[in-house]
């Protein structure tokens, strides 16, 4: 940033070089898309940008502008606060993350850290940096698109990292609230591929619901919400080998109460999932990322009954390869995803199978500017599309060019 606080550096006072710790990210987007209407627009489309059936639509939008402050709060405490403008959200300006990390000076080979605030637990292998951006691509995988929209907590986590057999073992345990509606989108809409980030106060639109659910749930969900006053937990274990391989596992349980709901019918969804991930460096310029996630979510319970209204089993996996040639990084990713309905009032018509193939070229022009061009093809089969009079099987192509400026 251009502004620098240039007061005299005094030994006894921390030099909080505030503007130095500000990062601004601006993302201009040109999008060409065919296929169905996006779920953001009341459709069943899997992408953030919808098409007009066979006709190609062009969107030219400032897709995102984000301002991040990351810097010292105290000697061992770092803060991170991100605010974003996203033009297609119901709250265009919203708080994205706000957390502090305390890292005491190690007194032995084991390192400890504690993080508290509003943040994404560490599941995604694709996102990085203070602005939590997808590296080298525009659209994250189906798994991490969902993490971005429905797995963000108000929580407290502790991490211990210990050298082991030449590598590094890291364990994290977290307690959280305000993530009780997690699973709503996955159940009623299904998996999607998009780079929207849910803010603290934002709603996400839902596609048309089945007749048995339409009275129980409004056509939107609030991802950051405490409904049942039960504390959820997650745990993460990661091992970084001597060889350039990192394996990790993450388990999440929001301990939601499926019978709990708010005045505006936001429910306590009981969501549990296991994610496993691998990051493998194949030489200095090529890396492979892979994740697989499986879980379930339950919502709605009549007094004295055992069977929940909604019981959605979901799973997805992706493999992604990125190869760097000078300032250019080429990436390819294959995503597979499915949901299955087992509940009392949501039926097999809301089962879904799908896959997606994404290719991207990321060209770093300067330290401040990069252009990413991405092509995405997604296909899925979901009978409930009949509610909008469209065929169950849909495919869609999305070509995007993003100009990303980081200041």
């Amino acid at each position: 940033m251009a502004l620098v606080w240039s007061g005299p550096a005094r030994a006894e006072r921390p030099h909080l070089d505030f503007p130095e710790n500000l990062t601004a990210v601006i993302d201009f987007r040109v999008v060409l898309t065919d296929g169905e209407r996006s779920w953001t627009d009341g459709g069943f489309g899997r992408s953030r940008f919808g098409g007009g059936g066979d006709e190609i639509r062009v969107h030219a939008v400032p897709a995102e502008a984000e301002l991040v402050w990351h810097g010292p709060i105290a000697w061992n405490v770092e803060g991170n606060v991100a605010v974003a403008y996203q033009d297609d959200q119901d709250q265009p300006v919203d708080l994205i993350e706000a957390f502090a990390t305390w890292r005491p000076v190690p007194r032995g080979p084991t390192r400890f850290s504690v993080r508290a605030g509003f943040y994404w637990p560490q599941v995604s292998l694709e996102h990085e940096g203070p602005a939590w951006q997808v590296a080298n691509m525009i659209t994250p995988s189906a798994i991490n698109s969902w993490i971005g929209e429905e797995v963000k907590v108000v929580g407290l986590e502790g991490t211990a990292t210990h050298p082991l057999a030449g590598g590094r073992l890291s364990g994290t345990l977290g307690l959280f609230g305000f993530n009780d509606t997690s699973g709503t989108l996955l159940s009623f809409r299904g998996w999607a591929l998009h780079d929207q980030k849910t803010g603290a106060f934002s709603r996400q639109a839902l596609p048309p619901l089945g007749p048995d659910m339409a009275g129980a749930q409004p056509p939107w969900t609030t991802p950051t919400l405490e409904v049942d006053h039960r504390i959820g937990f997650y745990g993460r274990l990661a091992y970084q080998f001597v060889a350039p391989v990192t394996l990790e596992a993450f388990y999440y349980d929001n301990r939601g109460d499926p019978a709990a709901f708010t005045d505006d019918l936001q429910w306590g969804w009981r969501t549990r999932f296991l994610n496993v991930g691998a990051r493998i460096d194949l030489g200095a310029h090529t890396r492979l990322l892979a994740q697989a996630l499986t879980g379930s979510t339950e919502m709605g319970l009549d007094p004295g009954e055992d069977e929940v209204w909604v019981d959605t089993r979901f799973r997805s996996a992706f493999v992604r390869l990125t190869h760097e040639i000078g300032p250019v990084a080429l990436s390819g990713r294959l995503d597979l995803f499915e949901t299955r309905q087992r509940g009392e009032y949501v039926y097999a018509e809301d089962d879904e199978d799908g896959w997606s193939l994404t290719g991207a070229l990321d060209w770093r022009l300067t330290d401040q500017a990069r252009v990413i061009v991405e092509g995405l093809h997604v296909e899925s089969d979901r009978a409930s599309r009949a509610r909008l009079g469209v065929a169950p099987r849909q495919d869609q192509n999305v070509v995007q060019a993003s100009m990303r400026i980081t200041l």
Partner: protein, 209 residues
């Protein structure tokens, strides 16, 4: 090269015994590549050579989010300064039993120093920047040097006879990252000693989030 030239050279030269030779050590890998940043210490007759009074200026700078040098050799009792040349703050620490300390370096051009009174290896880290690492080898003998980029450390005026050669490197594949061997130094003239070593891959940078 004398270990702490020019700080110690004068005195050791003055005290050099009549019968003394030179020893040229090269630390190298199996394929012959020189290993930089290894610390070679010599113990003529298996004994430490008395240290000269410590007048050295030793420093480990923080520049471009790295420590420089990566390995520093200092005599017992040395004062090491830690100047910060970066625009960001650093939090230098070591949990080594040799010398446990932490320094808070607020900003550019600030310097703090630490005294090292016991021999041994002191690994350094920065609590804010995980990928910053460096090592201080605090030695109790005047015959100590860090290898150059060709893996070489040259010693002059070593008392002739058997000499214990100790080689340490942070990634050396050996117990305590160190190995020992014996060399014979002539009463006059120069002898070369190659030290073949095997290195572990350095730890990879931690992924941050």
């Amino acid at each position: 090269m004398r270990a702490f030239l020019p700080a110690l050279g004068g005195l050791v030269l003055a005290a050099a015994p009549a019968a003394a030779g030179d020893l040229a050590v090269q630390v190298r890998t199996a394929n012959g590549a020189g290993v930089a940043n290894a610390v070679v210490t010599l113990y003529p007759g298996g004994r430490a050579s008395p240290l000269a009074p410590n007048r050295g200026n030793f420093e480990i700078a923080q520049r471009d989010l790295q420590f420089s040098p990566f390995v520093l050799v200092v005599p017992v009792g040395a004062q090491v300064s830690f100047p910060n040349f970066d625009d960001v703050r650093h939090h230098v620490y070591s949990f080594s039993p040799v010398r446990r300390f932490e320094l808070r370096l607020y900003a550019r051009e600030q310097t703090r120093s630490v005294r090292f009174d016991r021999p041994g290896i002191v690994p350094l880290g920065c609590n804010i920047h995980d990928n910053m690492i460096a090592f201080i080898d605090v030695v109790d003998t005047s015959f100590a040097a860090r290898t150059d980029n060709a893996g070489r450390a040259n010693f002059t005026a070593i008392p002739g006879g058997p000499v214990l050669v100790r080689v340490w490197h942070p990634w050396l594949r050996a117990p305590a990252n160190q190995l020992e061997l014996r060399a014979d130094v002539p009463d006059n003239g120069r002898v070369a000693q190659a030290v073949p070593v095997s290195l572990r891959p350095p730890p990879r940078p931690a992924r941050t989030y």
